[in-house]
């Protein structure tokens, strides 16, 4: 049995002890928005949050990270060191699911993205179920929420009498064992409430948007020019959608000089940028904004599913809310789903 429960008081103790043993990253409120950061004091954790404006992907794929440092005089190449372990507490199931999609992509053989793998290996991901999804959310479409996601080690779900805790991975089980005295086996009543909650929230979301995701594969073949042309006209080519997205993983590299070494960094890139595919010769296989926009949606909704058996969108709704021009991926879902 992997279902446990914890009372609200015990949860506080759990978080406090967690923060003493590990680097704890958890949500708190700042200037009217929620964000994740390393917390020394777990008391500021705000569990009544909706979701963070920016996804927690930066803990696994930082906006800028070192690839290597090459010392020509010493003749050796230095790589980043092993990352220290941390606990990511309270991310939403959609964002946790994004991690599992990224696992599929970045850790697929034969090459593994070593730094991502390293961070992933060293992270304990604890998700917090959504019981009140936001207007922009559509995780029901991709089954990446609202209660259970895919990439987490533990799932915490608030109920009237404390939290239901589901251990999703062996690592999750070991955390429960580590803090065993705080957790109890979930009783039948709670489990009943849990399943009621799942269907209630899911129903609510399905009423807002119900799409057959398997049909989205069609988008590749039927990518209607007009739809993308219309939205391309609107698109102002900022990178917000990609930067806010929990699983936009494309990266750019940049070489710099340092005092005694050559350094390469990698960091977020966006396929919306006209520079994304432009080659040094000036050739650009993807010239128009509409092509780029189409690529973004196709990549997420048909190409990743074809190649990695997962969807490139988890329905968090960040791109919908943040896009200054109001470009809405849900319209794509409705049109082709």
């Amino acid at each position: 049995m992997r279902m446990f429960s914890i009372t609200e008081e015990s949860l506080k103790v759990f978080l406090r002890e967690l923060s003493l043993k590990h680097v704890l990253i958890a949500p708190f409120e700042r200037d009217g928005y929620f964000e994740f950061d390393v917390l020394k004091n777990p008391d500021v954790i705000n569990l009544n949050y909706t979701n963070t404006r920016l996804s927690p992907k930066r803990f696994f794929l930082p906006q800028r990270q070192l690839v290597f440092k090459h010392y020509p005089r010493k003749g050796f190449t230095e790589e980043p060191k092993e990352y220290s372990s941390f606990v990511l507490f309270g991310i939403r199931p959609c964002d946790a699911s994004a991690l599992s999609v990224l696992d599929n992509i970045l850790l697929s053989p034969p090459y593994k993205d070593a730094s991502y793998e390293n961070r992933r290996k060293n992270a304990i991901v604890i998700s917090l179920s959504c019981t009140k999804p936001m207007a922009e959310c559509f995780c029901n479409v991709f089954e990446t929420g609202p209660i259970r996601g895919m990439g987490e080690d533990l799932t915490f779900t608030p109920t009237r009498s404390g939290f239901i805790v589901e251990a999703r991975t062996p690592r999750g089980v070991s955390v429960i064992e580590e803090f065993g005295k705080l957790f109890r086996k979930a009783d039948g009543e709670m489990l009943e409430e849990y399943s009621r909650l799942i269907s209630k929230v899911l129903d609510e979301m399905n009423r807002r948007l119900k799409v057959d995701k398997t049909r989205l594969i069609r988008i590749e073949k039927e990518a209607g020019e007009e739809f993308f042309q219309l939205n391309a006209q609107r698109c102002i080519e900022c990178s917000l959608c990609s930067f806010a997205c929990p699983l936009c993983y494309c990266f750019e590299t940049e070489d710099c000089l340092e005092k005694d070494s050559y350094v390469r960094f990698r960091g977020w890139d966006t396929c919306i940028s006209p520079l994304f595919t432009r080659m040094a010769s000036g050739l650009d296989p993807r010239v128009t904004k509409a092509d780029r926009l189409c690529h973004r949606f196709c990549h997420k909704l048909s190409r990743i599913p074809l190649a990695f058996n997962a969807y490139g969108c988890v329905g968090c709704g960040r791109c919908v809310s943040l896009c200054p021009a109001g470009i809405d991926i849900r319209e794509v879902l409705k049109k082709w789903g």
Binding site: Y71, P72, R73, L257, E258, K259, D260, S261, Y262
Partner: protein
């Protein structure tokens, strides 16, 4: 990947005690862009450079003294195209207190230059641009005439632009010249007529320069020729017209003291000796037309525009004199017998309004005359701040002229510092004055008062004795300082040359390039770049001519790199256009483009472009940013 060679010069071991060369080279060697480091003890020595056996394609950082000297040495000896200079002597060793500071500054400067050199490209010069071997001299005073003659005598065509009807300038108005008291027009007159006769000189009187385009070797100058209403081709200077003209006007040549007719010739030795009509006074009665046998008069004359193509321009427009009305304490223009030194020159001149007799306005002879020096010079008031150079000598000359005309006259000179530094000035002027009994009073008079009998009373404090007193005289002559002429700023702007804080034209370098301006191919001579006397003006005229001739003889000009607009980046916002003082940026459809021939490579446009769409050689954001980041050490 380009890498650089660093040459560290110990300057004959003199820098060793201020810079730790071992530390510097050890630190620098960490920089992956450094290929090798050589410590030498004299980069300025040919042997040292030769022993380094540098490759022409090598990128070199020369850390030594000033590039002024080294650039020529290194470029000649090594043929290296990319050399970055870092002045570790003046900028590090000499200005830093301790060795550690000097060494670390050296390291920082060098790291910046290494970054820069790696991104630099060998400079590109456009060689062999055409040179129009014709010159333009603006201003027909002594400097301009001397210059035009010298250029013309070397065999090149000269256009001499004069705003007045005749060349001659101030010197033509003077009675005598110091220190020898020679007749001024007798010296200048032959020069003027020689200029008039010279086949290589085209005198364009009554004209002004209104526009300049082009670059050194190929200027296109727009000249506006004002109407004189008399066709100079037809006029033979007979003067019949003036005889019949019923209208009089004050003559500028005689400082408005002696009226002439509305149709007139400014003075007897004028070149060209042609009559002109002053339309302000002309009543268009037509009498002159009726007597002119050559039908030279055309009252409908209109301004003409000429475009002249020349290879070099000499600016010799001279200066104006200070307006004494700006010093109300001397009551010039208000009290009859307060006159300027230029008026004095005309009055004392035999051909002047009084036939050379020093008379007051009321017709009485002036027996007691006071000179006040430094009116409008050496002051913080409305005049110029510096010494006006000519006036001590001029006043002493004029004082002596008074005594030459009238042995009984009494002359007083109110001076601040008497400056008699020229050749013969001490002997021929100052000592003679003292011998002649001319009274020198060290004072800047505070006021001129008028006594009831019409005499003037100079109120002053003798700064040698500290005594305040008053001096009654018949006449006061104000020794006026020079000031930049009225249109000089406009002309300078048209030509693209700069002016100094006094308003005179600024030299490219006051000592090294005293007659060049910041625009290549435009030179300067005479008082338009500061007070001078006749001798110096003439010297400068000849010197400027030499510069023009050497430019013409050089065969071709090497132009600096020019700015280039990257078409793909330019948005056509036009911010660069007003910034360009050479008007080298023009609109081309929706974008802009640089006219290469006009561009001087100054780089002003580059800083005005918000998106680095203009590039100029290696002075791009790329090089500068890297240089800065190298210095900052990140």
């Amino acid at each position: 990947m380009r890498r650089v060679t660093v040459l560290l010069c110990t300057c004959g071991s003199t820098l060793l005690e201020k810079i730790d060369f071992n530390k510097v080279s050890k630190e620098l060697y960490k920089n992956p862009l450094v290929k090798k480091i050589e410590i030498v003890d004299g980069l300025c020595k040919a042997n040292t450079v030769k022993s380094l056996s540098l490759d022409a394609n090598e990128r070199i950082i020369a850390a030594a003294c000033s590039s002024r000297l080294l650039e020529a040495v290194l470029k000649n000896l090594s043929n290296a195209k990319v050399i970055e200079f870092v002045n570790i002597r003046e900028q590090c060793a000499w200005v830093c207190d301790d060795k550690e500071d000097a060494s670390s500054k050296t390291i920082r400067l060098l790291n910046g230059s290494i970054n820069r050199a790696v991104r630099s490209n060998p400079p590109q010069y456009s060689d062999g641009l055409k040179i129009v071997r014709e010159a333009m001299v603006i201003g027909g005073g002594i400097a301009g005439v001397r210059c035009a003659l010298d250029i013309a005598n070397a065999g090149y065509r000269v256009y001499l632009i004069e705003k007045e009807p005749s060349i001659g300038g101030i010197m033509a108005q003077l009675d005598k010249t110091f220190p020898t008291l020679d007749c001024s027009i007798c010296i200048e007159g032959p020069l003027l007529s020689e200029a008039g006769r010279n086949k290589n000189i085209t005198i364009i009187p009554n004209s002004e320069v209104v526009g300049v385009k082009g670059r050194v070797g190929d200027f296109r100058v727009l000249v506006k020729v004002n109407p004189t209403y008399v066709d100079p081709e037809k006029c033979n200077g007979c003067g019949e017209c003036a005889n019949v003209c019923p209208v009089y006007q004050p003559n500028k040549y005689d400082v408005d003291l002696k009226p002439v007719k509305a149709i007139y010739c400014p003075f007897a030795q004028a070149v060209p000796l042609k009559y002109v009509i002053n339309k302000e006074y002309c009543i268009e009665c037509g009498l002159c037309m009726s007597v002119c046998t050559r039908a030279a008069i055309n009252l409908e004359d209109k301004p003409k525009m000429l475009e002249l193509n020349v290879g070099a321009i000499v600016v010799a427009v001279g200066s104006d004199l200070f307006d004494p009305r700006l010093k109300p304490e001397y009551h010039y223009g208000e009290y009859d017998n307060v006159i300027t030194n230029m008026e004095f020159e005309r009055i004392i001149c035999a051909s002047g309004p009084t036939g050379g007799v020093l008379l007051r306005k009321d017709g009485k002879p002036a027996k007691r005359v006071a000179f006040i020096q430094c009116v409008g010079s050496r002051e913080s008031g409305p005049g110029i701040g510096e010494c006006s150079y000519y006036c001590c000598a001029a006043s002493m000359k004029e004082a002596r002229l008074i005594l030459e005309h009238d042995k009984d006259a009494k002359v007083f000179i109110f001076y601040n510092e008497l400056r008699a530094f020229g050749k013969g000035w001490e002997d021929l002027l100052y000592r003679r004055c003292l011998e002649d009994g001319i009274v020198f009073i060290r004072s800047r008079p505070s006021e001129i008062k008028r006594s009831p009998n019409g005499n003037l009373i100079v109120v002053y404090e003798d700064t040698l004795t500290g005594k305040r007193s008053e001096l009654e005289v018949d006449m006061v002559v104000l020794a006026l300082g020079f000031k930049p002429s009225e249109n000089l700023a406009k002309l300078a702007a048209t030509l693209g040359v700069s002016v100094d804080d006094q308003g005179f034209i600024e030299e490219a370098h006051s000592k090294a390039k005293p007659l060049e301006t910041r625009v290549r191919g435009i030179y300067v001579a005479g008082t338009c770049h500061g007070p001078r006397d006749i001798v110096e003006s003439a010297v400068e005229g000849s010197a400027a001519a030499a510069l023009v001739i050497s430019l013409f003889r050089s065969g071709n000009v090497k132009l600096p790199e020019t700015a280039v607009v990257l078409e793909s980046k330019c948005t056509g916002c036009g911010r660069c256009m007003p910034v360009c003082q050479y008007d080298a940026i023009v609109r081309d459809g929706e974008k802009v483009r640089v006219l290469e021939s006009l561009c001087n490579g100054c780089g002003a446009c580059i800083s005005s472009c918000p998106q680095e769409a203009i590039v100029l050689g290696d002075w791009g954001i790329e090089q500068l940013a890297l240089q800065i980041s190298g210095m900052l050490g990140d």
